[in-house]
């Protein structure tokens, strides 16, 4: 698979070399291609999504594994699983028609009035853009991180927590200790979620605004690696453009491959002992 993609993108690799990654020009008409804007959009949107989703996911995982009664737990876990199974196109659709208007009329004016002095929150409010895409991504990766955090927490021996309680620790202190012991597994879950966010295509394409530019503001439209492929591939006008798009795909593949391998190793390091 890697080989096939390398061959298909070789024309572009030969022409642009390493400059491909660092150039921000993307002009199909002039046959000039550089992927920096897309890499920037991908990284910023994925990391923002992770920042939003990680605390919430850990909270839900604790809630599910430690705090609630078993009957509530099964139905709640089921709901979270369904959240993971909804096709991304539906998230995108919902993002355009519900989240984007809500962002434009409520969230973005609020952020601008409070944090307006920062460059991140200036500019026109379109509703779609980097921030909206990040929120959608955060909703989508929360179930993944939650599921893994829950599994990792389960792998921590109960005796440890009981020992802490016996010493007079409060419930949260016991949980905190379990979290500390499970940290590399949770990190693995987070990295796995990051990998998913990097590769997510449809939902992001629909709400990010699709404009090849690097702007400081989170309100501005941007572009990610996956969405540029989705938008331009089928209607690419010349061989060079297709080749460049495949190279973008190759970069995307490489990044997710590394991210996922790291995540698997981290998770494995925690759950190994419990099996």
């Amino acid at each position: 698979m890697i080989y096939e993609m390398y061959v298909d993108s070789s024309a572009s690799i030969e022409k642009f070399g390493f400059g491909f990654i660092f150039s921000s020009h993307w002009e199909p008409v002039k046959e000039e291609f550089g992927a920096l804007t897309f890499i920037y959009g991908t990284i910023v949107s994925s990391f923002m999504a992770l920042l939003m989703s990680l605390p919430i996911s850990i909270g839900v995982a604790i809630f599910l594994s430690e705090l609630v009664h078993k009957s509530v737990r099964t139905s709640l876990s089921f709901l979270v699983e369904i959240l993971a199974a909804i096709p991304s196109i539906i998230y995108g659709f919902w993002g355009i028609f519900v989240l984007a208007p809500f962002m434009r009329t409520t969230i973005q004016p609020f952020l601008q009035s409070v944090f307006g002095f920062l460059p991140f929150f200036q500019g026109t409010m379109y509703g779609t853009g980097l921030l909206t895409a990040s929120i959608i991504l955060a909703i989508m990766i929360t179930p993944i991180i939650t599921a893994i955090t829950r599994d990792v927490l389960k792998a921590i021996p109960v005796a440890q927590k009981e020992a802490a309680y016996a010493l007079g620790a409060t419930r949260w202190e016991g949980i905190k200790m379990a979290l500390l012991n499970a940290r590399s597994g949770i990190l693995g879950g987070a990295v796995l979620g990051l990998g998913r966010a990097i590769g997510e295509t449809m939902a992001v394409t629909m709400v990010i605004g699709n404009k090849a530019q690097i702007m400081a503001s989170f309100f501005e439209p941007a572009y990610t690696m996956a969405s540029v492929i989705a938008n331009e591939f089928a209607e690419a006008s010349n061989e060079m453009q297709i080749s460049a798009l495949i190279e973008v795909g190759l970069i995307l593949f490489g990044v997710t491959f590394i991210v996922n391998s790291m995540a698997r190793l981290l998770i494995y390091s925690v759950t190994r002992n419990s099996q």
């Binding site: 919430i56 196109i89 659709f93 919902w94 949260w172 996956a226 089928a234 495949i246 995307l252």
Partner: protein, 287 residues
């Protein structure tokens, strides 16, 4: 340790109790925050979907902009064909590699396969689409249902493999030993005893993979490509439900949006049913 000092100080105790209830409250808030968008999406899609849903949706072809009515019949059939083709490729390969990993887990190859499937499940679906484009579309010189099915098949493999492996591991060892002790060969034991015992679990896994493939859009954009007419031959571009939703959703027409909501409702409903079924079957069996 200093634990004793910390635990016995009454002032500390108050603070610790406060932090305790605060954090537990925050966990609760997190759970609500996660469930909220789910319910919102589900209710919103159902509301907008049901009002737009009628018999025409399932029986009519898409109509041009401006004309009333029309449906997504071709997209539904197209999705069916694509999933069928994907299943033909993905299910046998997935089940067989699952068997290999579970039954012959000591070999180095099994470990390598396991790692590869784990990584494959993390590969973005659009990258799989590019791969299918390179292998099938370029070779055939045309967008086609085969290319789309090929992409979906690859996407199904990791899910099916994983579930098969897990289900086979749940089959008690004594069953295998009993069969082997009766002089049955290893292969026959696997097929007739182990696989049969685990079959309901594997079927649910396959259903899960199908539900996921049914919602995939990204890899179909430039493999199956979409088509607004009846098309059932597999070497031609073909319509698919999620593709149609995508095209309609980003269009500026009110009428198309309603159609797209109806499509989204059909998809979400299917996903829900499959997940519910899976949950029901696995609980009875392995509770």
């Amino acid at each position: 340790m200093t634990a004793e000092k910390i635990f016995k100080n009454p002032k500390n105790l108050k603070r610790r109790k406060f932090i305790n209830s605060l954090m537990i409250f925050l966990c609760f808030v997190a759970a609500v925050l996660t469930i909220l968008p789910l319910l919102y999406i589900f209710i919103y899609t159902t509301q907008s979907g049901i009002s737009a849903l009628n018999i025409d949706f399932f029986t009519q072809l898409p109509k041009p902009v401006g004309e009333e009515g029309g449906g997504m019949a071709n997209a539904i059939v197209g999705s069916g064909i694509l999933i069928g083709l994907g299943g033909l490729i993905g299910i046998p390969i997935g089940i067989m590699s699952g068997i290999y990993i579970a039954e012959y887990s000591k070999s180095f190859l099994a470990g390598a396969i396991k790692f590869t499937t784990d990584v494959l499940s993390g590969v973005p679906s659009i990258v799989v689409g590019i791969f299918a484009y390179g292998v099938v579309v370029l070779a055939m010189q045309s967008f086609s249902a085969i290319a789309g099915g090929f992409a979906l098949g690859i996407l199904m493999i990791p899910t099916v493999t994983k579930i098969t492996e897990e289900m086979l591991r749940l089959v008690p060892h004594s069953l295998r030993e009993a069969s082997l002790a009766l002089g049955v060969s290893r292969w026959k034991t696997t097929v007739k005893v182990v696989l049969k015992t685990a079959s309901s679990g594997i079927i649910t896994g396959v259903l899960l993979a199908i539900a996921r493939a049914a919602g995939e859009t990204a890899p179909l954009l430039f493999t199956a490509f979409g088509n607004s007419f009846w098309q059932t031959s597999i070497d031609q571009p073909i319509a698919a439900l999620p593709l149609q939703i995508f095209v309609y959703a980003i269009s500026p027409y009110e009428d198309w949006h309603r159609q797209a909501w109806a499509g989204a409702f059909v998809l979400i409903f299917m996903v829900f049913i499959v997940n519910f079924l899976v949950r029901y079957v696995t609980r009875n069996k392995f509770g």
